[in-house]
C-alpha cells in the first residue's frame, strides 16, 4: 500500500479526503471544501471532558430527582419531575411515548456521561482496550439520541401554554437542568468522534 491510511482523514461533513498535518498547539484543522472542523489538539479536549462529565453527572442527578417547576392550578399544587412525568405517561397507557421519552432524556444522556467517565478510567490504567473501544462507539451513537437540550426548550414552550391558567414557580432542578444542558452542548456533544478515537489510540499506544 502506497499511503498509510492513518495519515488520511475524510471530512465527516462533505466526505472529502485530506492528508493529516501535525498541528501547532491550540490550532484547529478545517476542511478546505466545506470549512467544517476536522480535528484539534485532543489531549486538552479530553482532559476537560472528564472534569465536565463528573459535573454533568451531579447536575443530571439533581435535575432528575427534584421538581423542575411547581404549578398551581385552581388552588392545587403539582410538581414536574422527570420520573413523575414518565410514571404518568406509563400509568395512562402511553408506553411507546413513555419509553422513547425515557430513552432520549434519561438513558442516552446517562450513557454518554458514564461512557466518558469509564473511558477516562480505562485509558488511565491502559486496561481493557477492546471493551474501551466499544465504549467509544457506543458513546458516539448515544450522543445522537440524547435530547435533554430539546427537552429544556420544551419546558419553556409548555410554560407559555400554562401561563394563562397557572401560577408557576421554578424548582431547584431547573437551574441544574440549564447548567447540564450548557455542559452537554459545549463539552460532551462538542468533542468530535475523530478526536475521541485519536485520544483512545494515543492513550493505549503510548508507553
Amino acid at each position: 500500500m502506497s499511503e498509510n491510511l492513518d495519515d488520511l482523514i475524510i471530512c465527516s461533513h462533505c466526505e472529502t479526503i485530506h492528508k493529516k498535518v501535525e498541528l501547532p498547539e491550540k490550532k484547529v484543522a478545517k476542511c478546505s471544501v466545506c470549512g467544517k472542523k476536522l480535528y484539534s489538539n485532543v489531549e486538552d479536549t479530553f482532559k476537560k471532558a472528564i472534569a465536565y462529565s463528573i459535573t454533568a453527572l451531579i447536575l443530571f442527578t439533581i435535575a432528575s430527582m427534584f421538581p423542575i417547576i411547581k404549578v398551581y392550578i385552581a388552588g392545587q399544587e403539582s410538581d414536574l419531575t422527570i420520573p413523575g412525568m414518565l410514571i404518568t405517561l406509563f400509568n395512562e397507557g402511553f408506553y411507546v411515548v413513555g419509553s422513547i421519552v425515557f430513552v432520549v432524556i434519561v438513558i442516552a444522556p446517562l450513557i454518554v456521561i458514564l461512557s466518558y467517565i469509564a473511558l477516562a478510567i480505562l485509558t488511565y490504567f491502559k486496561i481493557f482496550r477492546g471493551f474501551a473501544k466499544h465504549i467509544v462507539s457506543f458513546l458516539i451513537t448515544s450522543r445522537s439520541w440524547a435530547m435533554v437540550d430539546i427537552f429544556l426548550i420544551s419546558i419553556l414552550v409548555a410554560l407559555v401554554k400554562l401561563f394563562g391558567y397557572a401560577q408557576i414557580n421554578f424548582g431547584v432542578s431547573s437551574i441544574a437542568l440549564i447548567l447540564f444542558v450548557i455542559v452537554d452542548t459545549f463539552v460532551l456533544k462538542n468533542i468530535l468522534p475523530v478526536e475521541l478515537w485519536t485520544y483512545f489510540n494515543r492513550a493505549y499506544d503510548e508507553k
Partner: protein, 201 residues
C-alpha cells in the same frame, strides 16, 4: 490537501479511513460494518421512510393532547394547537411548534427522498458534496421535531388536578414513532450513497 477520493471510505463509527473494495466493507480499526449491500440499505431506507410518513399522517389527524375540564373533554391536534396559540397571541411559541412539528418532519422527508431518488444518477463532484450536506442537515434538525411530544409529556405530567387534567393523545404515539422511523431511515442510508460517482464499475 486532496488526494484520490474514490478508493477510500470513512468509517461512520470511528472515522478511520478504509479502502473501499466496492462490496461489503468492515472497518479495519473498529471492525464495525461500514457498508454492506447497497440495494438492501436502500430498500431499508425506503421502508423506514414510508412507515414514518404514514405515522406523520396519523399524528396529524388524531389529537396529540386531550384536556378534560370539569368532566368536559376537548382535544388538540398538532396544527390545532399551533393555531390556538397563534390566536391567543403567543406568536413565537406558535411558530416554534409549527416549525418543529409540521415543517421539520416534512423537510426531513423531502431531503431523504431527494437523497434516495438521486443517488443512482451520475453526479458531478459538487452535487456529491450537496448530497452529504443535505444528509447532515437532516441529522441536525431531526431531533427538534420532538418538541411537541415533550410538551405533551410535560403538560400531562403536571396538569392532573381534580378539576383539570391533561393527557396525551393517540397522535403523540404516532408522532414519536414518526420521529423514530425517520431517524432509522436516515441511519440506513449507506455512506457510499452520499459520496460515490455511481458510474458503474
Amino acid at each position: 490537501m486532496k488526494s484520490n477520493k474514490d478508493k477510500y471510505i470513512r468509517c461512520p463509527y470511528c472515522e478511520s479511513v478504509n479502502v473501499d473494495n466496492g462490496g461489503v466493507v468492515y472497518c479495519r480499526t473498529c471492525k464495525n460494518r461500514i457498508s454492506g449491500n447497497k440495494e438492501i440499505n436502500l430498500r431499508n431506507a425506503w421502508a423506514m421512510l414510508i412507515t414514518a410518513m404514514i405515522f406523520y399522517v396519523i399524528a396529524n389527524i388524531y389529537p396529540i393532547l386531550v384536556i378534560s375540564k370539569f368532566g368536559v373533554t376537548s382535544s388538540n391536534t398538532i396544527i390545532g394547537g399551533a393555531i390556538a396559540l397563534w390566536e391567543e397571541g403567543s406568536y413565537p411559541i406558535s411558530i416554534i411548534i409549527f416549525v418543529a412539528s409540521v415543517f421539520v418532519p416534512l423537510l426531513k422527508f423531502i431531503l431523504i427522498l431527494y437523497i434516495l431518488t438521486n443517488y443512482k444518477k451520475p453526479q458531478k463532484g459538487s452535487r456529491r458534496v450537496d448530497q452529504a450536506m443535505l444528509y447532515h442537515i437532516t441529522e441536525v434538525i431531526g431531533p427538534w421535531s420532538m418538541v411537541d411530544v415533550f410538551v405533551v409529556a410535560i403538560l400531562a405530567g403536571v396538569v392532573h388536578m381534580s378539576s383539570v387534567k391533561i393527557t396525551a393523545g393517540i397522535g403523540a404515539t404516532a408522532f414519536v414513532l414518526m420521529v423514530f422511523f425517520t431517524m432509522l431511515s436516515a441511519m440506513s442510508i449507506d455512506i457510499r450513497l452520499m459520496r460515490e460517482d455511481n458510474d458503474g464499475d
